[in-house]
Symmetry: C2
Subunit: 416 residues, 2 copies
């Protein structure tokens, strides 16, 4: 079956050598051979930005279909992806010592992470390019979102996970019917094996590090931020960084909304890595090519030693006059506590790393106290309960009578 091409896509362009290609299923620039740097091009002059309005009642990221590489012949997965809420977290802002802090809770997507934006586009590209099977390697969220979206559209999915992937995420993708391959090794080994398997078995490769269409799904968070925050666009947008595809996508979305004349100014991007996995921060600071690193952090979703999208990410951060920073696991756990207790949002470690980065950036005078910030919470805390337990503290355990309660409370209040 042949599908009409996405109406406003004009082709692909290599961000390194500038070579352009027609819309097609290529992952690596045939000219310079570098992966993860093909960018999807659109004819922006033909897109009517008046459709991006609160009066558009399609409250999902499909409201931006004109800016997505989606064939008009294909129905999006029926699950509601995107248009996640933005909260004005006043008490958390006060605690952090900043004028305004907004939290965009992407843990409220169908499979509870930001990655649903990418996977919902990925399954449509697989169908458009004639595949019946889709695969990816992931530390967890991309996997569970791919399993979820594949279930919604009826594709078979094969998922490669590293052995350290948290149990809730693995359970999530098994229940959605994916065939799960736990690779006894690192994320990088799972990634390489997935690519080899896609070539050998003829599966569509959803890996967002290399697939140029996936980042387009991720950019919808940037499009939404532009629309939701139009009247009080924050000075900074803060995003945790592992592979680089998420911040690269959000940056592109914001730039597009400026290009379309929808917003006047693009916020500065703050990319936040974990201290235990910060090869991109080092490349950002040195200006040299990225050197892969070991990883050691509780923030499993951003524990990426060999990011595939570092060029795209650094390009977007620099274009926004932004910055990068790294935070420790202790800072992430502390941020999980205060974001839940003062901001009402329970995020997973990687999802909350951005908030930890805000605190540190204020301390280092990168973010000024008079500025406003929007932090994207990229995943729900229930995705990784073992880490959350480290941040959460302990329950009081008592026998079922009021005296036992009074004694326990009195002891508890003495301590706390």
């Amino acid at each position: 079956m042949n599908f009409s091409p996405p109406p406003f896509v004009t082709g692909l362009k290599c961000l390194i050598c500038g070579a352009t290609y027609p819309h097609s299923n290529i992952l690596t620039c045939p000219s310079c051979g570098i992966e993860g740097i093909l960018d999807v091009l659109y004819d922006y002059s033909s897109i009517d930005n008046s459709q991006f309005t609160i009066r558009n009642s399609q409250f999902s990221h499909w409201r931006y279909k004109a800016l997505l590489p989606i064939s008009p012949d294909l129905h999006p997965p029926f699950l509601t992806v995107g248009w996640t809420p933005v909260y004005d977290a006043k008490r958390l802002a006060k605690h952090l010592g900043i004028r305004k802090l907004f939290l965009k809770d992407d843990g409220r997507n169908p499979s509870n992470s930001f990655k649903d934006r990418a996977s919902s586009v990925g399954v449509l590209k697989a169908i458009e390019f004639g595949f019946k099977t889709i695969a990816c390697a992931s530390t967890g969220n991309a996997a569970s979102s791919l399993a979820c979206m594949s279930a919604a559209v009826g594709l078979q999915s094969f998922i490669f996970v590293p052995s350290r992937a948290p149990e809730p995420k693995v359970t999530q993708l098994l229940i959605f019917g994916a065939t799960v391959i736990k690779v006894q090794g690192t994320y990088e080994q799972a990634f390489d094996l997935c690519r080899e398997a896609c070539e050998k078995f003829g599966w569509y490769n959803r890996n967002s590090g290399t697939n140029p269409y996936l980042v387009e799904g991720k950019k919808t968070a940037g499009l939404e931020i532009a629309e939701q925050m139009k009247d009080e666009m924050p000075d900074w947008v803060v995003v945790s960084v592992g592979d680089g595809c998420t911040i690269g996508g959000i940056g592109k979305g914001l730039q597009e909304m400026k290009q379309l004349g929808f917003i006047e100014r693009v916020p500065k991007l703050l990319g936040v890595q974990a201290e235990g996995a910060k090869p991109m921060l080092e490349a950002f600071q040195s200006g040299k090519d990225l050197v892969p690193s070991e990883t050691n952090t509780i923030a499993d979703s951003i524990a990426v030693g060999t990011p595939r999208n570092w060029r795209r990410a650094i390009h977007q951060i620099k274009q926004s006059n932004g910055e990068m920073i790294a935070v420790s696991d202790e800072e992430i756990l502390e941020a999980m506590r205060v974001t839940a207790r003062l901001g009402g949002v329970f995020g997973e470690p990687a999802g909350i790393a951005g908030v930890a980065g805000v605190k540190k950036a204020i301390q280092q005078n990168i973010i000024k106290s008079h500025e406003s910030v929007l932090a994207v919470i990229t995943g729900n805390g229930l995705k990784d309960v073992q880490s959350a337990k480290q941040a959460a503290g302990e329950a009081l355990s008592i026998k079922p009578n009021i005296d036992a309660l009074a004694n326990a409370l009195s002891a508890h209040l003495k301590i706390n």
Copy 2:
């Protein structure tokens, strides 16, 4: 501080003896002494139903503020509660052998369960009645939602959980800053101790079994179903039943929308209990008073042996010409698998019990194959990963090379 009363609330009425009382903080009918049967009354003739329209851009359950017992002086918690998506789950409908099956995914609320509807109202009532501290007993979801909403509005919360509460739920409420009291006993013992503590320490009691205002929050799911499904109102609305407050609330919401002239017909309610906790089904069938039972089911959120709201629930089910049914744990696990794999929604056992009930009700000819059904998924599957693991199956574990993969897949495909 004094707050204006909710503008359209005219008082409270006992569902048993008919006695009426002004709007106030009472839990038990002073006249007949039975708990869990006070109903909030409204002056419906003064409410303009034209506000319930897709053009109302407030896409949360606060769009129904006129139908909630909320003081106009109070700001709702800033978290986006309600207006959860409804999916037309075509492949799941086909699998179950029914014309239409809609899934309303209430696992997408802020703390990932239906209970956020009740807790978001509960914290406002606590503030309105002058309390600084709120407490509840819960098998988990009411607790985590109360902790979440308390964090959002800055109330102190004390939560009583039975010792078998799943770890993800306990972690969730600890991270939101609640003081958690794990009672070495059953839900009923936790419930009784919470009530005693509220009286002794002067805390506001959020227990939805007795608090007449909580069920008002729950009814917003019924209001939403009426609005979202106005043009193709299903023949049945299916809800899992533990305490009875949820189905009682949904039923009231649907009845109100009929009373307001917004819909012409109220769907039949199907209440689904677990085989291991079905005292209400027995009362429904016998027509006699409820006899408390032991509980034994993986569906912890509906494992209630002494439901407080059975009268309200049975009243609503009968008023709708509905039915009740019970499903086994095996049927719930099977429903978890097919709902995720064909419906794209990963629900917790109690949240999915409704779908298991649909299958059984079709087999028993209670629901006919030409009818349409909406099932409310009341909680996210990540809330109880241990149960989900029983339904999900196993990952393949391999060494990181393509031969190991090919061998594992070949063995896997032979088995499956």
